[in-house]
Amino acid sequence: MAIDPNILVKVAAFAGGGIAMGLGAVGAAIGEGYTASQANLAISRSPEKSGDIFKNMLVGQAVAESASIFALVIAILLLFLDASTANLLQAAAFLGAGISMGLGAIGSGVGSGFPGGQSCLGISRQPAATSKLTTNMLIGSAVCQTPAIFAMVVALILMFMDFKNAPALPTWAALLGAGFSMGLAAIGSGYGGGMAAGASCEGVSRNPDSVGNVTTIMLVGQAVSQTPSIFGLLISFILMFRVFPESTALSPAMALLAAGLCTGFGGIGPGIGNGMVAQGAVRWVARNVEHAGDLMRTMLVGQAVSQSTAIYAMVISLVLIFVV
């Protein structure tokens, strides 16, 4: 079956753009909806603060939208970029870029809705802490975007790197695998980071004096929740930059694709689980600031244990890449 490579690349670019924007629209919409629903609740509790709450809601939604704006940028680039070379590899790279960005935007979009919603509720509960809450929300939801930024970086590298010298036959699967690895692994991490950020906004509103400790533990918790997406980034870098020996057999190609899928799917659960741990720790630090050190240690140990499944997935991916 011979397909004109030019057409193949165009098809892949269109499909990739569609996937990037289609999936990228999912998460941010849910997150923004959550923010708005909590803002409604907050306004009904304290209508006299409706101006502040409304402003805060719009700012929170604007930040939550950035993941899907990343997806929009990648989709537009995919639709209008002229491919320098027309071959199977370029097509796989475009498709992989779309998959990485589309899947990668889901988690961050949903996650960054939580701090927005919780800070709106917090303003109704504790109007004096409005500026602290807005600052905390901005930091929290900006850090939530990290997995989406990783996904965008992988997508940009896939689109702009020159893969001409690589042998086409197993490498096409490696490029697709790189997209899946980063995109899927970013879902859990983005969502989990959002849970921690939401809990921190709630905590600040309950005890505004604890804002320093709460923000510190939120940042550490979010950073550790992002570890699965860092594993996804690592695997997709290995898949993109390692030169694989040429082979026309199907099994090496499938091993590379499976390596990407393995780390990707394996990162979803640990990301959300780590987010739950961080959520619990942050929530209780606000109520019991004296024991912030103990809570942080327990959080870290708990996250390390719940992360072990992501590490197993990464080990299997490395075996698939280097041994099989």
């Binding site: 900006a142 980034l233 590490i311």
Partner: protein, 224 residues
């Protein structure tokens, strides 16, 4: 777009091995060193009860970071480790901000810098653990909860180095790639300064802080 992934390297062949030195990274690291040493000299020179601006800045930074260290460790250990934590934070902060100046690059953009700092933190944390608990109690922790969990615990410990260093590397390098691509597409009009402010100042500060805090907490997990 040819700069994507380009590194200037000095390769010295010695006895069949190739020693590769990334020249730009070393130059940038030295710039950070010099600025930090100058800051230290200015902040501590002619210190007096009525402080001058540099002294105020230095004292504010030291006090804030010392408090964070003491929250995570106890008082005695905080006094011991706070200078290291302080140096680490300032080095990372300045490294991440360096990319704001045209023609300079963040040393943390090269994986070697975060990886060696991550290894340093790992070694210090485990040294502190062995020293405070004794080697037997330290080694016993690897066999918790069951003796056959040892390899998995070991992999989990090693994965900490990967996650801490790739977190910094991915954020800083990701930011610089996004800035590079956007500058190329928009001919450096309007958007790149905003992106520089976000990725350089904001993300750079947060990641420097997160790296430092994680190093502190890894030490505190080992000693308790």
């Amino acid at each position: 777009m040819d700069e994507l992934g380009l590194v200037h390297q000095l390769i010295i062949p010695i006895a069949g091995y190739k020693i590769t030195i990334n020249l730009e990274v070393i130059l940038m690291t030295w710039i950070v060193f010099i600025v930090l040493i100058l800051f230290g000299v200015f902040a501590s020179r002619k210190s007096s009860l009525i402080p001058r601006p540099w002294q105020v800045l230095g004292e504010l930074l030291v006090a804030a970071l010392y408090q964070l260290t003491e929250d995570a460790l106890d008082k005695e250990k905080a006094e011991k480790y706070a200078p290291m934590i302080f140096a680490l934070f300032l080095f990372l902060l300045l490294s991440n901000w360096l990319g704001l100046i045209p023609h300079l690059q963040e040393p943390t953009k090269d994986l070697n810098t975060p990886l060696s700092l991550g290894l340093m933190g790992f070694v210090i944390a485990h040294y502190a653990g062995i020293k405070s608990k004794g080697f037997k109690a330290y080694a016993k922790e690897y066999f918790q909860p069951m003796f056959f969990m040892m390899p998995l615990n070991l992999i989990g410990e090693l994965a900490k180095i990967i996650s801490i260093s790739f977190r910094l590397f991915g954020n800083i390098m990701g930011g610089s790639i996004i800035i590079l691509v956007v500058s190329y597409l928009t001919y450096s009009v309007l958007l790149p300064p905003l992106l520089n402010a976000f990725f350089g100042l904001f993300v750079g500060t947060i990641q420097a802080f997160v790296f430092t805090m994680l190093t502190v907490v890894y030490i505190s997990v080992q000693v308790k």
